[in-house]
Structures are given as structure tokens and as C-alpha cells.
């Protein structure tokens, strides 16, 4: 079946004419038709756009102008502005918003000729870890429809896991690529902050937001990251450095690799089955020639509190533009300006978004700024310094992505703190701006579990190399839920 192929295989078959991009794209559109009503992984499906782009891609292929990804369809998280397509951020606030421009990432992939299948579901404004806060309802986990797919890029993870797209874009502010990748048994990488342009990505917390690929394998992610990354003058925080070839190191041996394993990561709160999966995966790495050393991240518990001050603070300001004046939701019959603001925002935003706006505004308000915002910035530096120190003793750090496998829909929606704490392994990485990968490493309670690999700044190629080598000796990444095979 087409959807079981690797990206390289797909590309090869497109070039040799075994199938066309239109056929490949139609195959995915048919699967979306068949499965997505139940899964709810797409907010918007764009069949006409997809087919017309596929036709263009076929012409390019025929003319010998194709790049490796030309003709391979992609699904964009609904946080990426897409010209002429509804870009809702899964919010009622933007339910009527048709973006008049492309995000840089969307433009880059368009230029290569990757047909757009549609826009994937997510937590509203990327605020959440379960994709339950979407205005369009929760996405289901393809492995178990009772379970959440993780979040916020839950729709993206689900479409890859269910074979409803071969590649998907995601964003990761506090774990939003890696945690759903772990929950859905796919591969996802959050690059170094600044490696991928944020232009046209609807901002949640600007100093954390980072886009990355979500695919079946590390190799696929490497090809996709090659297409997504690069300096963009329209994003002032974009890194002005030469973009490396992220596939260059894929085949390197792991002999001599020093893996740091923080003892702190295997303490109370970590599900023992998840712990076993992660330890087994690390043992597999040792078989490949890697060495394990113990490292310490003593301030790891400061990360979640720091993040839940800073991210909402930035969000409270970033989301001020949604005021009902120029675009997006506007309340019915406002009586005056204040009523327009209050009701448009009260009615347009969901509960979690409003909660974070209020928390953030509070942390920035006069008299509390020093105690919350500045203190949280200080903790952020301490968490980052922990990593920098740890990388003196190891090449990468490995551990769990999340403390548990996917939880059930509704299980944590009334307990925000427990939801927040489920991001304790991923958030420190965002505070530090480091790259990190999640690769499928096994199952716990019949639900997928990912292995978290964190590296120093700009070590994406190394992380993908490790993921790829691991995937040469394991087959977790090729597994699909029975009904989607």
C-alpha cells in the first residue's frame, strides 16, 4: 500500500512513474474520507487544492525538475497560515479566518510541490496536551479511540499514525510535537529555536514556539526538516546560519556515542511500563555501540512552573490582537466598544485559552511582574544552564517523552495541574531552546511510547542519525493500528 512506503520510496516511485502524485494524493484523500469522520484529525480537508497541486507536481516530475519531496502530500497543523484556506487555530475566534498569505513553512513546501491535503486539528491556539480543547472537538488516538492523541499537534500525529498523510507539520511550544508523537507512535522533532521560521505561524508563546516535521520515521523527518528549515529575514528570531543537510549523518554508526541519562527522569510519577520501554530502548542503543553515562538536571522541577508563567505571559499579549475589530469572531450587536471587546473575546475563546490569558496578564501586572515574570525568567536560565552543563559529559540526553502513555479522553480535562505536569520532560527543552526528537520505542498498556532524545543546539542531524540507526534495528515506527493498515 502506498501509505506504508517511506518518503524515499514514494519519491522513487513517483519518479519512475509507478504512480503519479495525483494518484498518491487521491489515495490519501480517499483514506481521509473513509476514516476521518471518526478520527476528527482534520479541521479542514482541501481536496481541490491538493489535486491541483498534485497535477502541478506531476508536471514538474515529468519535466525532471522534481526535488525529493515533490509530489508528496502534506498536512499542515491549523496554526500555519495557508493562503486562501481557513486557518482557525482550532478556535471559534478564527473559525471565519481565511488567511491571505502563507506561513514561511507552507510557502517553502508549496514551492517544492507538496500537495496540501488539509489542516490538522489541535488544542485551541496550541494550548494543551490532548487536543481536547479544539473548538471542533477532540481528535481520537488511532491506536485506541478512547485515548487522546496528545497535543497540541494531536491531529498531525493522528494523521501520520493512521496513514491519512505521509508527512505533517507541527509546532512545539512545550512538547506539542514530541508528546503527541510519543502518544501516537510516530517520529517528531522539535528543532533548535530559530531553525525554522515562525513567520505566518499563529503565535502562542513566541520565545518557545518552534515548528518541526511529524513523520513515520527519522529518515522521513530529516528530509522534511531539510525542506522546512532555513533563515527567514521576516522572523527576527530566525537564525542567520547556513542550513545543514539534516540527512547527512543518518548512516553514521553510534559507536562511541555518549548518552546521558538523568537519574531525575526516572523518579516518582513515571509510569513503570513507560520506564521499562525507555530503558529497553536505551539498552538497544548500547548494543549499537553507545555508552551510557549518568548526568544530572537538578532544576528539572522548576521548568513546569517557569513555563506556566512565561508562556501564558507571552500568550496574554500575543492573543490581544483577537479583539473582534479587524478579523475573526465578533459578538452579535455590541452595545459599545467595551462590550465588543469583552463579549467577542469571552465568546470567541475557549476555557483553557481564557485561563492562560488571565494567568499571563496577572503575571505581568504591576506589582507582580518581579515576583512572577522575572523570577520565571531566572528559572528559565537555570534550567538551560543545567543542560549546558550536562552536555559537557554527554553527546545527547535520553529519557521518557511523557510520564505515561496516552490517557483517556476526558480523563484529565478537569484537572489542569495534572495535565500541565504531564509535560515535565518536554518543557525544559523548550525553556532552553534545544532540539529534541521523539521516536517510537514500544508500547505500554497497548498504547505507544516514545523515546526522548535531546541534544545540544544545532544537533538535529545527530539526533536524526540516532533515531535512524535505532529504526534500523527496531520496527516500532513501521507499526500501524490494525484498522488503518
Amino acid at each position: 500500500m502506498m501509505h506504508n512506503l517511506t518518503i524515499k520510496q514514494m519519491s522513487e516511485k513517483l519518479r519512475t512513474g509507478e504512480f503519479t502524485s495525483v494518484q498518491l494524493t487521491q489515495h490519501y484523500l480517499d483514506r481521509i474520507d473513509e476514516f476521518d469522520t471518526e478520527l476528527n484529525a482534520y479541521v479542514t480537508v482541501t481536496p481541490e487544492l491538493a489535486i491541483s497541486m498534485a497535477e502541478e507536481a506531476d508536471k514538474k516530475i515529468a519535466a525532471g525538475e522534481a526535488e525529493l519531496l515533490t509530489g508528496i502530500p502534506v498536512a499542515h497543523k491549523d496554526i500555519f497560515c495557508t493562503d486562501g484556506v481557513k486557518t482557525s487555530c482550532a478556535s471559534k475566534m478564527l473559525d471565519n479566518f481565511i488567511a491571505p498569505y502563507d506561513a514561511n513553512v507552507v510557502a517553502l513546501l508549496k514551492k517544492i510541490g507538496m500537495p496540501i491535503l488539509g489542516k490538522t486539528n489541535m488544542d485551541e491556539f496550541a494550548m494543551g496536551s490532548s487536543s481536547e480543547s479544539s473548538y471542533y472537538g477532540p481528535t481520537k488516538n488511532p491506536w485506541d479511540h478512547k485515548a487522546v492523541p496528545g497535543g497540541s499537534s494531536g491531529g498531525a500525529a493522528a494523521v501520520i499514525a493512521a496513514g491519512l498523510a505521509p508527512m505533517a507539520t507541527g509546532t512545539d511550544t512545550g512538547g506539542s510535537i514530541r508528546q503527541p508523537a510519543s502518544f501516537c507512535g510516530i517520529t517528531g522533532i522539535k528543532p533548535t529555536y530559530g531553525a525554522v521560521s515562525r513567520f505566518g505561524i499563529i503565535a502562542y508563546a513566541s520565545s518557545f514556539d518552534q515548528a518541526g516535521p511529524m513523520t513515520r520515521s527519522a529518515e522521513d523527518s530529516a528530509w522534511m526538516l531539510n525542506a522546512m528549515a532555513g533563515f527567514d529575514a521576516r522572523d527576527s528570531t530566525s537564525l542567520e546560519r547556513e542550513t545543514p543537510d539534516y540527512t547527512a549523518e543518518l548512516e553514521r554508526s553510534l559507536k562511541g556515542l555518549k548518552i546521558g541519562v538523568p537519574a531525575e527522569y526516572f523518579g516518582v510519577g513515571l509510569d513503570s511500563d513507560v520506564s521499562d520501554v525507555v530503558k529497553t530502548a536505551i539498552a538497544e542503543m548500547e548494543k549499537l555501540g553507545a555508552k551510557v553515562v549518568e548526568v544530572h538536571l537538578p532544576n528539572k522541577d522548576l521548568a513546569v512552573p517557569s513555563y506556566y508563567v512565561l508562556a501564558p505571559a507571552e500568550a496574554s499579549s500575543n492573543l490581544s490582537r483577537f479583539d473582534g475589530v479587524r478579523f475573526g469572531y465578533r459578538c452579535e450587536k455590541p452595545t459599545d466598544l467595551e462590550d465588543l471587546y469583552k463579549r467577542s473575546r469571552s465568546e470567541g475563546f475557549g476555557e483553557e485559552v481564557k485561563r492562560r490569558i488571565m494567568v499571563g496578564a496577572y503575571a505581568l501586572s504591576a506589582g507582580y511582574y518581579d515576583a512572577y515574570y522575572l523570577k520565571a525568567q531566572k528559572l528559565r536560565r537555570m534550567v538551560r544552564d543545567d543542560f549546558i552543563k550536562a552536555f559537557n559529559d554527554c553527546d545527547v540526553i535520553m529519557g521518557p517523552v511523557a510520564p505515561t502513555p496516552a490517557f483517556n479522553i476526558g480523563e484529565k480535562s478537569d484537572d489542569q495541574v495534572s495535565m500541565y505536569l504531564s509535560d515535565l520532560y518536554t518543557i525544559p527543552v523548550n525553556l532552553a531552546g534545544l532540539p529534541a526528537l521523539s521516536v517510537p520505542a514500544g508500547f505500554a498498556q497497548d498504547r505507544p511510547v516514545g523515546l526522548h532524545i535531546v541534544g545540544p543546539y544545532f544537533s538535529e542531524a545527530k539526533l536524526l542519525n540516532i533515531g535512524h540507526q535505532f529504526q534500523q534495528v527496531t520496527d516500532w515506527h513501521t507499526k500501524m493500528p490494525a484498522q488503518y493498515q
Binding site: 498569505y101 503565535a203 490581544s320 471587546y341
Partner: protein
């Protein structure tokens, strides 16, 4: 009992950049509503700011002119509040780390006394858009053309103690930013906006509560508004009231100020560093490079005009009142090979300035260029025309009738220096005025002036007055 007045000014100078501070949209004034607002200016989802580097050099230039500390690391912050003309729900500004720190400026009052006014800081920020009333009946529109226009907010210390001092400071700053070429100074279009913080106190007491006077677009009204506000505050306190902290608007028609909003309406702006913009790092070399490109400042130029060009204080002041005026003058002197600097200065301060004032034009808008005026002055210097004829030539040039030489030629204004021609004129006038000759010879020597006048008139003003004089005296002996 006496009162002490304390005034501080906040001046918003719009920087002369072609595009906005964080986007590529044009800053040109007067375009159709929202035609110069790009998705970044409108605060569309996913849009990000990119700093227009041109604003940095311009700000540093002002800092150097004010002898101020330059912020080696300045940071953009977000000032959060909701208003329809503020598209993102925050204004990007500099709060804790401005680009220009403490500086100072010397002002001179009409009576010649001088005073140093401290400049607390100058920081960069983006302008908001504006609400438009009446375009759609019953509704308020928003025009975002101005949103994102770069502003340098220059904050003074509360060092001024009268309306006159405040205006002297504002005018000097106005002159300075134009000299530096960082702001066009157009107050009508809002390129240079002055907000005045005014309070009064008894000598020796702590600062009184201040009121802020906003949106006044002429120096004359700024002075009047401050004076009225001082009176209002004094009367209020003396009659047992207290001044409240508020923003007041000046009403020029009724010559009063009225409350616009009080402190109770004030927002908590929740300032924090803008995560979309990197801190601006300035190296010493950058500062020196900018210093090297700075034009001569008005005070230095004025001093030089007196010491090197030998001009009077008055002429030097008038000729340095704007950079354009000074540059016009210096060009004029150069084009006339500095043969008669005083003559050039006189023409600039009288004939030229009078013509500009009459038509309400700026130096840049003058129909007569420095080259044109120099062409005329050269003809005065080589005795082709007299000073009086030059006035006619100038007016014709002003009306666009050609160059000085073309006009002199076309109108036959060249001075008569031919002895025979002058003698004929002298003889004719003397022949027609026998009684006046009698009177002259009887001792009424002032009759000489009468004869000169008549001869000049007969020559259409073109006879060389010196030659006429000489010949008359000889003939009347």
C-alpha cells in the same frame, strides 16, 4: 505668596524613514485610508515585526547631539492595552532600556538668558493608527496608515519653569531634529508632537500633581495652553481645591483646557520585553561612524558664522534658523566666491526671507534657487545693476521670468555707465529746472538730492548713481 511652575515635555518626533519601523509599508502622509497598512501593521495572525535599521542611526544621532548616553543594549517592550487604533493590542516601545539615555540641551530665552534643560531619555516606538469619524455615518472607522510609523519619544527632565522656557526648548528641539535630518518637523501633519506636563508648587515644597496637555500642534498654542493651565492650577489650589493627575486638551477656540481622561482610567500596561524582537546592540565603532556623518549643529554653525564669516549675531541667528536656510546661505556665499558675505546675508535676511514669508513658503519651496540668487548678486558686484534694480530683478526671478541675466537683458535693466549718456541726462534735467539751480547756488545744497532723483527717474533707475553724482557736482560748480 509666590508659586513655582514645573514643566516637563514629551516630544514625539516622527523619524524620516521611507518605510515603517517594523514593516515595509510606506510612511508617506495623506494616502487613502488603510492603503498603506500591510498585514504586519494590521496585526494579522502570524505576522512578525522586523526592525527597520534606519531608525537606530537616526536615534543615535539625536543622542550625540544632546550629549547623551547611548544605550549600548536597548530593548523593545510591549505596552499592552486595548484600543481600536492599536491593532496588536500592544504598542511596541522601549521601556526599561531606551536607545538614548540622559542628555541635555541649552536653551536661550528672548532676553538672552541661557539655561540647561536635562533630557531624561529618548526611546523608539511605533505610532498607532487613528480613528476616523464621519466617513461612515454613525460609525467610527479605523485608518491604520499611521500604525507602525517610527517615533522617537524625547522626554525632558522637569526643568522648565515657564511657558516661555518650555516653548524655547520645544523650538530648539524642533530645529535640532530637522537639522539632523531625522524628522521633517511638520507639526500640522503630526510629525512633531509636544505633550506638556505642568504642575505648580510653593517654593521649597515637593512637586505638585501634574496635568498633561496633549495634541497641540503649534508653538503659539503650546505657550498659551501652558499659561492657562498654570493659572487654572493656581486658582484651583488657592480656592481650596486640589489638582488631579489627568490628561487635558487645549481648546484654542475658547482658550481653555478641559479634562480628557483622569488617572483612574489609566491602564496597567503590563510591559514586558517583546519576544519577537532581539535586543539592539550598539558597538562603539557604530557610534563613531554615526558621529562622522553628523551635520554641523545649529549652535556650532551660528558661532562659526559670527567668528569666521564676520556676521552679526542677528544675521547668524536668522541664517541658522533652519538647516535649509543655512545651507542655502553657505551655497550662495560659495557661488559668489565669498566676495561680499554681508551682501549675501542681507539678501537672505531681507529680500529672500520677506518673499518666503509673504507666500508662506519654506526655503526648500523657494522658486529662486541659491544658483539663481547668486547669479543676481554677481551682477550687483560687477556693477551691472544697482541694489535698487536688483529688487526688480529678484521679483521677476521669483515670478519665474528667467535668470538674472535674462531678466536684465529682456527688461533693459543694465546700469548706464556710459559718460556721454549720463551727461545727456544731467544736461536735460538741469535745463528743465532753472529755478532749482538758482536755489542750489543760493546755498540750498540739498537740492543736489533732488537733481539725482530726477536724473535717476529719467534713466529708469539705470544710471550709475555714483557717476551721476560726480557729474552733477562738477556741472553745478
Amino acid at each position: 505668596m509666590s508659586w513655582e511652575v514645573v514643566i516637563g515635555l514629551e516630544i514625539h518626533a516622527q523619524l524620516t524613514t521611507k518605510s515603517k519601523i517594523f514593516s515595509g509599508a510606506s510612511t508617506a502622509y495623506g494616502a487613502a485610508p488603510n492603503s498603506q497598512a500591510c498585514p504586519i501593521d494590521v496585526g494579522m495572525p502570524g505576522m512578525l515585526p522586523v526592525l527597520n535599521q534606519a531608525v537606530i542611526g537616526k536615534s543615535i544621532m539625536l543622542g550625540l547631539a544632546l550629549d547623551a548616553e547611548i544605550g549600548k543594549r536597548s530593548v523593545f517592550d510591549r505596552k499592552n492595552y486595548f484600543y481600536p487604533d492599536l491593532p496588536k493590542g500592544y504598542q511596541t516601545t522601549q521601556f526599561e532600556f531606551p536607545i538614548v539615555g540622559q542628555g541635555k540641551m541649552e536653551i536661550e530665552l528672548e532676553d538672552g538668558t541661557k539655561k540647561i534643560i536635562g533630557v531624561t531619555r529618548a526611546h523608539l516606538e511605533e505610532d498607532a493608527g487613528k480613528s476616523v469619524h464621519g466617513l461612515v455615518p454613525g460609525q467610527t472607522g479605523v485608518d491604520l496608515n499611521r500604525a507602525g510609523t517610527p517615533l522617537l519619544e524625547i522626554v525632558s527632565d522637569p526643568d522648565m519653569s515657564s511657558a516661555k522656557e518650555a516653548v524655547a526648548y520645544a523650538k530648539k528641539m524642533h530645529e535640532l531634529v530637522q537639522y539632523l535630518g531625522i524628522c521633517d518637523g511638520n507639526m500640522q501633519e503630526g510629525s512633531f508632537r509636544v505633550d506638556s506636563n505642568v504642575s505648580v508648587r510653593r517654593p521649597g515644597e515637593p512637586l505638585g500633581t501634574r496635568a498633561e496637555l496633549k495634541n497641540i500642534n503649534s508653538f503659539r498654542f503650546i505657550e498659551k495652553a501652558i499659561e492657562i493651565e498654570i493659572e487654572r492650577q493656581i486658582e484651583l489650589i488657592e480656592s481650596g481645591g486640589t489638582v488631579v493627575q489627568e490628561t487635558r486638551l487645549y481648546d484654542a477656540d475658547n482658550d481653555t483646557t478641559r479634562s480628557m481622561r483622569t488617572k483612574e482610567d489609566a491602564n496597567d500596561y503590563r510591559y514586558f520585553p517583546c519576544p519577537d524582537l532581539l535586543p539592539v546592540i550598539i558597538a562603539d565603532e557604530d557610534i563613531e561612524a554615526i558621529r562622522a556623518t553628523m551635520p554641523e549643529l545649529p549652535d556650532a554653525k551660528r558661532t562659526r558664522f559670527v567668528s569666521e564669516l564676520g556676521l552679526s549675531d542677528y544675521d547668524a541667528t536668522v541664517l541658522t534658523s533652519s538647516r535649509a536656510m543655512a545651507e542655502f546661505f553657505e551655497r550662495l556665499v560659495a557661488l559668489t566666491d565669498a566676495k561680499d558675505i554681508k551682501l549675501c546675508a542681507n539678501w537672505m535676511t531681507s529680500g529672500f526671507s520677506a518673499a518666503l514669508n509673504r507666500e508662506g513658503l519654506s526655503v526648500e519651496q523657494s522658486p529662486v534657487s541659491a544658483e539663481g540668487l547668486a547669479g543676481m548678486i554677481v551682477r550687483i558686484l560687477d556693477n551691472s545693476i544697482s541694489g535698487k534694480i536688483a529688487k526688480q530683478v529678484f521679483e521677476a526671478m521669483w515670478k519665474g521670468e528667467g535668470t538674472a541675466d535674462e531678466i536684465i537683458e529682456a527688461k533693459g535693466l543694465k546700469q548706464i555707465t556710459d559718460t556721454g549718456a549720463i551727461e545727456a541726462l544731467v544736461d536735460e534735467v538741469l535745463a528743465n529746472n532753472p529755478s532749482q539751480i538758482e536755489a542750489y547756488k543760493a546755498g540750498q545744497t540739498k537740492m543736489l538730492g533732488y537733481f539725482v532723483g530726477q536724473i535717476m527717474k529719467a534713466s529708469g533707475g539705470q544710471a550709475n548713481p555714483g557717476q551721476v553724482n560726480q557729474m552733477l557736482v562738477a556741472k553745478l560748480k
